[in-house]
């Protein structure tokens, strides 16, 4: 037992949870706990109250609603891993989730917890950035929707107010024939990635790129979209020339620097991984078209 003492709350509804967050001082929301509990054990976090969302059934599950896929914030990463809906509709996420932690942590970790923790190299925030996810949050004063690009404010910092809870994540899958690829680099399988690249590529019958997404995880303080790279792709002919130009843009990002990995190394990875992912996404797009 390592955490500092706290009072444990286990509300059974979202309104009760929001109420608790409003009333209690120094309270933290507990989702799957695969990041927060290590922080408690290290005493990097020592809240006086933990509000566990685990008993709120409404917050769990994946469903299709109109042309969107909607995830309850407490949907476990395992539910994504084993969802045939996700394999069919969001192959980019399906590919990324298998590289997220280990089987034993995916079994408990949640999509909402991952987004709120917002580790710069985490897979699901990177996918949400790539797919322009919309995040539903609720507080005592009502609910609002935040675009992923606005939600991720800075290093492990979200746009959530202290009394707000993330309740759902909405993603509109791409349709038609497109290619996807998620590639990350970690020293050991399941470790935090040093960097990752997520690519979506729509190619028309003549090989022209009509839509492109280039997202990077682990390179900047938050997962980011590389608009300069996307600009190199859209309207260009799919192939090594356009991909090299886009990858070069990824290598120019103002990258994180830490004692283990200098910025130039992350830039190098950004360029290499995005180049590989573009090639793979293109191959898949072509295979789809035949």
């Amino acid at each position: 037992m390592k955490p500092a003492p706290f009072t444990y709350h286990s509300p059974s509804s979202v309104s009760e949870a929001v109420q608790l967050l409003t009333e209690l001082e120094n309270a933290r929301v507990l989702a799957g706990g695969q990041s927060l509990v290590p922080m408690l054990n290290f005493r990097l976090a020592s809240p006086d109250h933990l509000v566990d969302l685990g008993k709120i059934a409404d917050l769990r599950g994946i469903r299709e609603q109109g042309d969107e896929v909607v995830f309850g914030a407490m949907t476990r990463q395992r539910d994504i891993e084993f969802s045939s809906l996700i394999t069919a509709k969001l192959p980019l996420m399906a590919e990324a989730v298998l590289q997220l932690g280990h089987r034993q942590t995916r079994n408990r970790g949640t999509i909402g917890g991952s987004l709120c923790h917002l580790d710069p190299s985490a897979e699901l925030p990177t996918i949400c950035m790539a797919m322009d996810a919309q995040l539903e949050v609720i507080s005592p004063s009502g609910s609002r929707t935040i675009a992923m690009a606005e939600f991720a404010q800075g290093m492990m910092t979200t746009a959530l107010a202290e009394t707000e809870i993330l309740t759902a994540i909405r993603i509109r899958p791409w349709t038609g024939r497109y290619g996807h690829a998620f590639i990350e680099f970690a020293r050991r399988h399941g470790d935090f990635a040093i960097a990752s690249a997520a690519i979506l590529l729509d190619v028309d019958g003549n090989g022209g790129i009509t839509r492109a997404v280039v997202a990077l995880g682990g390179v900047g303080p938050v997962p980011l979209r590389v608009s300069a790279a996307e600009a190199c792709l859209i309207g260009a002919k799919a192939g090594s020339e356009a991909f090299a130009a886009a990858a070069a843009e990824c290598g120019k990002i103002d990258a994180l620097e830490d004692p283990t990995y200098p910025a130039w190394y992350r830039q190098h990875l950004a360029k290499t991984l995005s180049g590989r992912a573009l090639k793979l996404a293109h191959e898949r797009a072509v295979a789809q078209a035949h």
Partner: protein, 162 residues
């Protein structure tokens, strides 16, 4: 001190206890219930020594609180042997030298139990993927992989359940 009253089953036996909220599940199992088969290594989710099954699913016993296991069905390494006789998976580990010091073994066995219940014909790749969540400082993993594949084979042949 904040405490919670919890009821849960561990290896088929019911327990009811008052537990301090900040006590994690594996410490509760070891200290309060006296089941010291599950081990504690890193206490932050990295090593896998504490892995137990919660409602049939492998989880880190150090990354959840005992209070969160209220109502759950827990399985630990003590639940594997039947009437004091090692089960097929354990026997395969014995025969193929799948352990040395044995520190990592209780967690490894629980993750492999989960895998074998789902899939009796796992590829080596799949076994390694499951084992990636476990650190073993002794074996170099080769014999663990071999023992897992052997257990799958024996279970297929005998028609027994993992």
């Amino acid at each position: 001190m904040d405490t919670k009253r919890i009821r849960l089953t561990v290896n088929g036996k019911d327990y009811e206890r008052e537990v301090e909220s900040r006590v994690n599940l594996v410490d509760f199992i070891r200290h309060d219930l006296g089941l010291t088969g599950s081990h504690v290594g890193c206490e932050h989710g990295v090593c896998g020594a504490c892995t137990v099954l919660v409602d049939g699913i492998s989880m880190r016993g150090c990354l959840m609180f005992a209070a969160q296991a209220d109502g759950a069905r827990i399985e630990t390494v003590e639940g594997l042997a039947v009437d004091g006789k090692l089960n097929t998976l354990q026997e395969s580990f014995w025969d193929l030298h799948g352990l040395q010091c044995g520190y990592c073994t209780p967690g490894v066995l629980m993750s492999l139990t989960e895998m074998l219940r789902e899939d009796l014909s796992p590829s080596e790749q799949k076994v390694r993927e499951v084992l990636s969540g476990h650190l073993c400082r002794c074996t170099g993993y080769q014999n663990i992989v071999a023992a897992a594949l052997e257990a799958a084979k024996r279970l297929r042949e005998s028609g027994a359940k993992a």
